[in-house]
Symmetry: C2
Subunit: 397 residues, 2 copies
Amino acid sequence: MLQISQRGQDMPASPIRKLVPYAEAAKKKGTQVYHLNIGQPDIETPKMVLDAVRHSDFKVLEYSHSAGNESYRRKLVEYYHSVGIEVNHNQIIVTTGGSEAIQFGFMACLDAGDEVIIPEPFYANYNGFAVAAGVKVIPVTSSIESGFALPPIEEFEKKITSRTKAIVICNPNNPTGYLYSAAEMEQLKEIILRHNLYLFSDEAYREFCYEGHQVSAMHLKGVDENVIIMDTISKRYSACGGRIGAFITKNQSVLDAAMKFAQARLSPPSFAQIAGEAAIDLPADYFDTTKAEYKSRRDLLVKRLNAMEGVFCPNPGGAFYAIARLPIDDADVFCQWLLESFSHEGQTVMLAPATGFYSTPGLGKQEVRLAYVLNLNDINKAMDCLEAALKVYPGRK
Amino acid sequence: MLQISQRGQDMPASPIRKLVPYAEAAKKKGTQVYHLNIGQPDIETPKMVLDAVRHSDFKVLEYSHSAGNESYRRKLVEYYHSVGIEVNHNQIIVTTGGSEAIQFGFMACLDAGDEVIIPEPFYANYNGFAVAAGVKVIPVTSSIESGFALPPIEEFEKKITSRTKAIVICNPNNPTGYLYSAAEMEQLKEIILRHNLYLFSDEAYREFCYEGHQVSAMHLKGVDENVIIMDTISKRYSACGGRIGAFITKNQSVLDAAMKFAQARLSPPSFAQIAGEAAIDLPADYFDTTKAEYKSRRDLLVKRLNAMEGVFCPNPGGAFYAIARLPIDDADVFCQWLLESFSHEGQTVMLAPATGFYSTPGLGKQEVRLAYVLNLNDINKAMDCLEAALKVYPGRK
């Protein structure tokens, strides 16, 4: 009998996508489903970004350089300069989505059995990339009461062993929306220097900060060797399907190692590199408009949630996610019930149970993640559904 | 001091791309370089394939399904049917290039320490994917004298241990151009059944067979659970930069495991899925034209090579590569010398030393791989360069 691998068995299924069959069944019954479960923005990809691809005139769809087109990397240098990050084009490897940047970091810096510390709840796919790389994820729990602020340094230090090689953060955070403060970033700097660790900083949501600005890991002084930024155009320009990201570090050994993984897979996608390059010339007010839209959605969502009896949702400072605590027995059961057994005026809402974002078993059972990627009208309707659902849910607590 | 991982150190650099700096230097000196070193076809991507992307009118560049767009997978079912492979759309996972299909296979079926047997010389990046997955590559050597035919069964059986989990073939072969016969495929079937192994079949060059047809691993009877096809649109439609491939198997457990890896990286590139879907509607004579072009290039290349004193090149049955044995001391030194110290009428040729395609140290030192991806005129000029070079190369043997 042929067996799949142990890591194939250990690999977690996506907690965000696992309820999809129930959503499909609900739609087949004629129920309208509001998707707050996944970070697929409804905001249109800027026309000039798509047009750059549509108006291209090359004749051969060739491999690009394994690190990405040099012209694109040179434009990226300008973009990073505009957000206070000074790098040159040889310190950037264009990746197939932010996903591949995370994989390159795990592969180049970590061996099987090594440990990475990640504040939980965290982006669930870090688990998958860790399983693929044979790396152990060690969670440090942040709490909804503090709005998911960085846990105290002592909590990190309790978890550090001789196998600890890196800390992973996502800032602003998916799934919590938390934006790390300058003081918190300095604390992280202190830990990585004291314990000689890499800091993998996933900055996919850099522009989406509603009070203040992001402090990038690359704004920290004296940690050039430690810091690796994982980035992506997916959320920034509503270009998730492009599958273009970036792996950025000033550590030459890490760059050299990551380049070997980049060469093995030949090159990142060519079409979307054209899109990514064009995006850097978007007018300066592009993010103002997008950010204003997301901010008004966040304000509405958080207000509606906190107005529901027994619901608590801290106000997230960035990204386009919020985690709310609901008066329910089990988020997985509740989210499935919303799709299978509930509707309100022919409509229901799809949420992501927060359990999938925690590594510690049992945590997040009363929490759900909401992605505010729908317009204000739809968010209102989705909240009407949730409010009605909580009144009749049999597992209400 | 921060360290990169052991696997980052073990990861091989690309043998195909490592001479690139010397080629760049040659070009800066004004020397024209004929690139026979890399499988980047010069054949134009069919206009209707590029136009499908250029005429697309979606507004949001969204994630696709993690397995690829259903519409594309349903079209792929038609394509595979046309080449005698009967699968349904749920047995296909669209991947980011053939590269990712190989990675999914290694990850889903093999654990760290497991062994895969691969006839050498083989596609060098299998080494990279093996290092990433912690898998050991065990070579079985094929010889230039037999035109790189499948080594005898006994050679495989000598290498099988309790850790052997799979055999990897590429058919038609990169780098040798060898096309496995029906009898050889039956031999492979016998081995995998007898020893309960997976057969990973890289069929990137399926259409490029110049005498006879490819026997796909999926044409074999009674091995549905064992066979996984790794495929790509890169060479088939001159669409290398699209980064679209496919992972195909009828083994449901393997599919389920591979899907979890597919979900972790979210989705394959959206633009090029549109291109891939359009390609399936190319007129039936598309491959006839392309194949005729490659065949005439092969015929010229092989004829020119064998006409040179001391050179031997078996006639490859497929793909667009040939391996030739040259009267030289060291292929790595020679290929670098061609770029650094030689020119003929202001021109030189870039070849891939075959050493990088062998896993056994010391093999391939007198061999080079030539990709016939240039037009007849350029191939002639490249062969003029090689002929002149061999006459004056100081390390001639």
